[in-house]
């Protein structure tokens, strides 16, 4: 399903005044993409909300490239908070304090020289509830590329992005129609296509199927398998079966602490921690 003709023309950063430091490593080169280091290296990250509640405590975790990593855990364990911290979306919640480092190409995305706008273009995000723009299907894909200075052929980009989300065949005749007319599952795949259109290196997914029916869910799960050849995927899910089906690595979070991080099969078959075992066997959470 992946279109082999995906254009690799680069995004041109809008003219930035010299005074604004640009993350050097973020202008990713081919060698960066092929290097075997982790896609995202989280070190001692803690997140505290304005009310003093510590949602994530001392999280240290390295996400391997071109693979699917699932973050599981009971409600309120901080998994979504952690995920949103990876591309600095937590900053939208006033008073959130994040400490520690999130290294992306060796550079801390929380560094003072880093603009969250740069981070979010390269670390895309798909939300729990499908949130397409109230615009046409075409415009949903094209907008992000346009504001980020895409110089390539827009039609081509829209098509390849929709193909990556295996939505192209369903919508190719109605690109000018409103995205809101699509079904929930189609909307969510559109949101995935929209994120892919920016050619990010990492895709963060926050319970992307929890608002969808089983059929749409299985479509998206199948999609992840193909997308991981292009992107590093980090997915938060409260559905353990889903984590087992789709992920290569699984991290188990419990009350803000990372309890266990292991290859998925190992974590589910031979959990090392007693709390992990209790959770995956359904005794709490």
């Amino acid at each position: 399903m992946i279109d082999p003709t995906v254009s690799h023309r680069a995004f041109v950063a809008p003219a930035v005044p010299a005074a604004v430091p640009v993350m050097p490593a973020l202008s990713a080169t081919a060698s960066d993409r092929d290097d075997q280091g982790p896609a995202l290296d989280v070190r001692n990250m803690s997140i505290e909300y304005s009310d003093g509640h510590v949602a994530v405590r001392n999280l240290t975790l390295a996400f391997p490239k071109r693979s699917v990593t699932a973050i599981i855990g009971p409600s309120g364990c901080g998994k979504s908070t952690a995920l949103r911290a990876f591309n600095r979306m937590n900053e939208l919640i006033p008073g959130t304090k994040t400490t520690g480092q999130v290294l992306f190409h060796g550079i801390d995305v929380y560094g003072s020289a880093v603009d969250p706008v740069q981070v979010r273009r390269r670390i895309g995000m798909v939300f729990q509830k499908p949130n397409p723009f109230p615009k046409s299907i075409y415009e949903n894909i094209a907008w992000g590329a346009r504001i980020n200075g895409w110089t390539g052929d827009m039609d081509e980009l829209v098509e390849s992005s929709l193909r990556q989300a295996s939505l192209w065949d369903e919508v190719k005749d109605k690109l000018k129609r409103s995205a809101l007319a699509l079904s929930g599952g189609q909307q969510q795949r559109l949101c995935i296509a929209r994120a892919c259109a920016l050619k990010p290196e990492i895709l963060l997914m926050d319970e992307p199927t929890s608002a969808l029916d089983p059929l749409s869910t299985s479509k998206i799960e199948g999609l992840l398998d193909e997308l991981k050849t292009l992107y590093t995927i980090i997915i938060v899910t409260h559905n353990m079966q889903q984590a087992g089906r789709i992920s290569d690595m699984t991290a188990f979070l419990f009350t803000g602490d990372l309890i266990e991080f292991a290859p998925t099969r190992q974590l589910f078959v031979t959990p090392r921690d007693e709390r992990t075992e209790r959770y995956i066997s359904g005794r709490f959470g």
């Binding site: 273009r121 949130n131 723009f133 109230p134 046409s136 409103s178």
Partner: protein
């Protein structure tokens, strides 16, 4: 725990029935009052008028030709004979009479020689129901008088400037003044209000100072409008007189305006509607789901790109609706403009932001204050004009809003 359920279905249903009847009655009452209001205005705007002329038009026939059929030269002669020499010379000095169009000459004769004066006016209801009595009254009291059915709402009402005679008085100056004031008001208040709302909703941190600012904007929306009038008088008319009279721009407005200009009125009204526009735009922006902002930001958009491309289009319909409500309020405001110094009698059209002005509500107020009944009819007709103007404004806004809404739905 002991207990049973007693569903008392009959009682509950009856209660609901009484309530719904009460709500229906309330609705009927409000509609009734609205109908009554319109009816009383319409009742005053049309009806029989009894006029008596100084000079009988029939006596102005020359050489057997009736007045209406005379040529321009004949009309000038009629004027020369009918007016004092001084008056005739004064009119001729304004613009040579021989070169004026025939209609204008006829109008002059009508005003200066025939000089019809209203003796009595009747309401529409009386004109329909008591026609006989009206004519009997004329025959008894004013045998020379002429009775005709007059619609005070007419093209002439819109075309004519204000005049001391109700018969040819119009509200052109007031209507133009209202339009100019309201357009300038919106041009000032809309961008300012929306910008403030964007800042308060999207940029301002939730701290004590900003909460204090928000609270005060809410309070300002409730300040009586006359207070804004006082502020406008002190600030725009007095303190900023060089600005509001156009002197700093090197524009010579009305020499005697001394700050009581359309600009002063618009600035005052802009202050008045600004809190309303801000609050309404804030609510419109707040109603945009957070998920839309997240979607934009997650795609590497800047805050402003997200606001401009997604938040504002999604809230535009609500912002527009609120702005129109504010506009309607400004259009109907009288008190602050009286304080700011609207002219009570102005026979010239406004020429620009630095000219003296009067507006429709001021004009209506002036006319209703006159003792003569005919001015009340004139006022009623002017109220109809104001209402039509308001409805036209609202309709425009609704059309704009619907267009935005459908564009959002179809996503084009």
């Amino acid at each position: 725990m002991n207990g049973t359920f007693n569903d008392r279905l009959e009682v509950r249903k009856n209660k609901a029935k009484y309530r719904s009847v009460a709500f229906l009655i309330a609705t009927i009452f409000s509609v009734l009052f609205l109908v009554l209001l319109i009816a009383s205005i319409v009742n005053q705007s049309f009806g029989y008028v009894l006029v008596e002329a100084d000079t009988d038009p029939a006596s102005l026939a020359r050489n057997g030709v009736a007045l209406e059929d005379l040529d321009a030269a004949g009309l000038v002669e009629t004027l020369r004979e009918g007016l004092t020499r001084k008056h005739f010379a004064a009119l001729d000095a304004e613009a040579p009479l021989v070169s004026r169009p025939r209609e204008e000459l006829l109008g002059l004769i009508q005003r200066e020689i025939i000089r019809e004066e209203v003796q009595k006016t009747w309401l529409l209801s009386d004109s329909v129901l008591h026609k006989g009595e009206i004519f009997a009254f004329r025959d008894a009291e004013f045998p020379e008088g002429r009775i005709y059915f007059r619609s005070w709402l007419s093209i002439d009402l819109l075309k004519n400037p204000q005049s001391s005679s109700a018969l040819d008085s119009g509200l052109r100056g007031a209507a133009l003044g209202s339009l100019a004031t309201i357009l300038l008001t919106i041009a000032l208040a809309f961008p300012l209000g929306v910008a403030a709302a964007i800042w308060l909703e999207e940029y301002a941190r939730d701290n004590r100072i900003n909460r204090f600012i928000s609270l005060n904007i809410y309070n300002l929306a409730g300040v009586p409008s006359i207070i804004y009038g006082m502020l406008g008088l002190a600030l725009f008319v007095r303190a900023l007189e060089p600005l509001s009279s156009g002197a700093v721009f090197g524009v010579a407005g009305d020499g005697n305006a001394s700050g009581r200009t359309i600009l002063s009125a618009s600035l005052t009204l802009a202050l008045l509607v600004l809190p309303v526009i801000i609050i309404n735009a804030q609510e419109a922006i707040r109603a945009v789901p957070q998920s839309l902002r997240q979607a934009g930001l997650a795609l590497g958009a800047t805050k402003w790109q997200t606001i401009w491309h997604h938040v504002l289009p999604a809230s535009a319909d609500r912002i527009l609706t609120g702005t129109v409500l504010a506009m309607s309020r400004a259009l109907g405001e009288t008190a602050p403009l009286v304080v700011v110094g609207a002219s009570t009698f102005l026979s010239q059209d406004p020429t620009g932001p630095f000219s003296r002005f009067t507006t429709l509500p001021i004009q209506i107020y002036q006319w209703t204050a006159r003792p003569q009944g005919e001015f009340r009819s004139l006022a009623a007709a002017a109220i109809l004009v104001l209402l039509i103007l308001l409805l036209a404004l609202n309709a425009t806004a609704i059309i704009m809003r619907n267009r935005y809404r459908s564009r959002r739905r179809t996503g084009t």
